[in-house]
């Protein structure tokens, strides 16, 4: 009854129960920390160029090249249960009513792992997209595009959560009206270099 094995078993059982409750309370405690992240963005220099994905490939496709300024403060997302925040900037574009099979497209232009609250104040000037931006079909077809700044909070234990700042909705606190004309989030993808805009082609 009071053998060593039983005692070890009891101690281990007690330890796991305590660990489980501490973990559960920690996971739940994150609702006590509301966050108010902010971001503003300025787009510069949007271009489309054609190129080949690899020097051995024969197919050429369009690449979107853009530079941007980003000011963001995600430090309020950090509480005692935040392991890291993964911040990323995406471009969303649709090409409905065209020959393109995929009408909803989203891809990451730039991302960063933010390990601490100090690293979560971002100030990027004339930053290039970190990844190649090419459509699945190889052509952008001059679609309308929007940028979205998103983040993923990854906890020490518990549920992962996501958030985002978009431009298009009215009264968006985060497009930062005080910055005047900065905060440009939407644009039309231009035609590839050396090609005429599609609208002109239709007229001619």
């Amino acid at each position: 009854m009071h053998s060593t094995a039983v005692r070890i078993q009891n101690a281990f059982g007690f330890f796991t129960t305590i660990a489980f409750f501490v973990a559960a309370l920690t996971a739940l405690s994150t609702i006590l920390y509301p966050a108010n992240p902010s971001a503003s963005i300025n787009l510069r220099n949007i271009k489309v160029r054609t190129g080949r994905p690899h020097y051995t490939s024969t197919k050429s496709q369009e690449y979107l090249l853009l530079n941007f300024d980003l000011d963001a403060d995600l430090s309020s997302l950090f509480n005692w249960n935040t392991k890291q925040v993964f911040a990323y900037l995406t471009v969303i574009y649709g090409s409905s009513g065209t020959a393109n099979k995929h009408t909803e497209n989203e891809m990451v232009l730039w991302d960063a792992i933010l390990p601490s609250a100090n690293a979560a104040k971002l100030h990027l000037v004339n930053e290039q997209a970190k990844y190649k931006v090419n459509d699945i079909s190889g052509k952008f077809l001059e679609s309308n595009a929007t940028l979205r700044f998103e983040w993923n909070v990854q906890p020490h234990v518990g549920a992962l959560c996501w958030g985002s700042i978009e431009a298009d909705s009215e009264g968006n606190v985060l497009s930062q009206a005080e910055k005047g004309k900065r905060g440009k989030w939407s644009f039309q993808i231009p035609p590839a270099w050396g090609k005429k805009p599609a609208t002109k082609k239709a007229a001619a």
């Binding site: 094995a5 990323y88 891809m107 993923n152 992962l160 996501w162």
Partner: protein, 198 residues
């Protein structure tokens, strides 16, 4: 037989009455059945063949390390979904860019946990995703089968990560990397259950 048990130090077994012995074996079976039932129940709730996975590689470090436990949700397939664009990580309404998915490449058994970097959706095409590990330099095109550049959400992905518990799954890595540990653990567990007399 008795002598053999004595030699093995299991004289305790001789003192058990057959009825007691059977009850203990039944108990052991009950524990196994409960565990199996909970696993399958979770599988039904999450709609995933494997609702809990253990991280096997360091490609998502520092967020996920080897041995961490991930809870998956697979009811965000985005078939017939026609609402407004849902936020990433929402339980219904589709897999978004920035979510972390677990996928099995055809012909390979190892589940891979990586983040969605691109998403292309069309009315008549499967939802195409491109993934990348946060800690990797390049995207996963190299991991996919030859001449495949995107994942099919419905066919290859077994769920999106919604919950995280550190380190708890490390025991399964130990068990799979050291086969003798598996038999040792099972043996000890079985003996303990049978020898317990309360």
């Amino acid at each position: 037989m008795d002598a053999l048990l004595d030699q093995l130090g299991l004289s305790e077994l001789r003192r058990l009455k057959p009825r007691q012995m059977l009850a203990q074996i039944l108990n052991f079976g009950l524990i196994l059945a409960t565990a199996f039932m909970m696993w399958k129940g979770l599988s039904v709730v999450a709609d995933s063949p494997s609702p809990i996975v253990v991280v096997l590689s360091g490609s998502m470090e520092p967020a996920f390390q080897r041995g961490d436990l991930l809870f998956l949700w697979n009811r965000n397939l985005e078939l017939n979904y026609a609402g407004p664009t849902p936020a990433p990580g929402s339980t219904f309404g589709g897999t978004k860019v920035g979510e972390i998915v677990v996928y099995n490449v055809k012909g390979k058994d190892i589940p891979i946990v990586h983040r969605v970097m691109r998403r292309h959706k069309g009315a008549k095409t499967p939802l195409n995703l491109l993934t990348k590990g946060d800690n990797n330099y390049a995207d996963d095109t190299e991991l996919y089968p030859r001449n495949q550049f995107y994942l099919d959400r419905e066919e290859e992905v077994i769920g999106s990560v919604v919950g995280y518990v550190p380190f708890v799954g490390y025991v399964t890595i130990l068990l799979s990397e050291h086969p003798w540990a598996k038999s040792a653990l099972l043996g000890i567990m079985g003996l303990l259950v049978i020898l317990q007399r309360e």
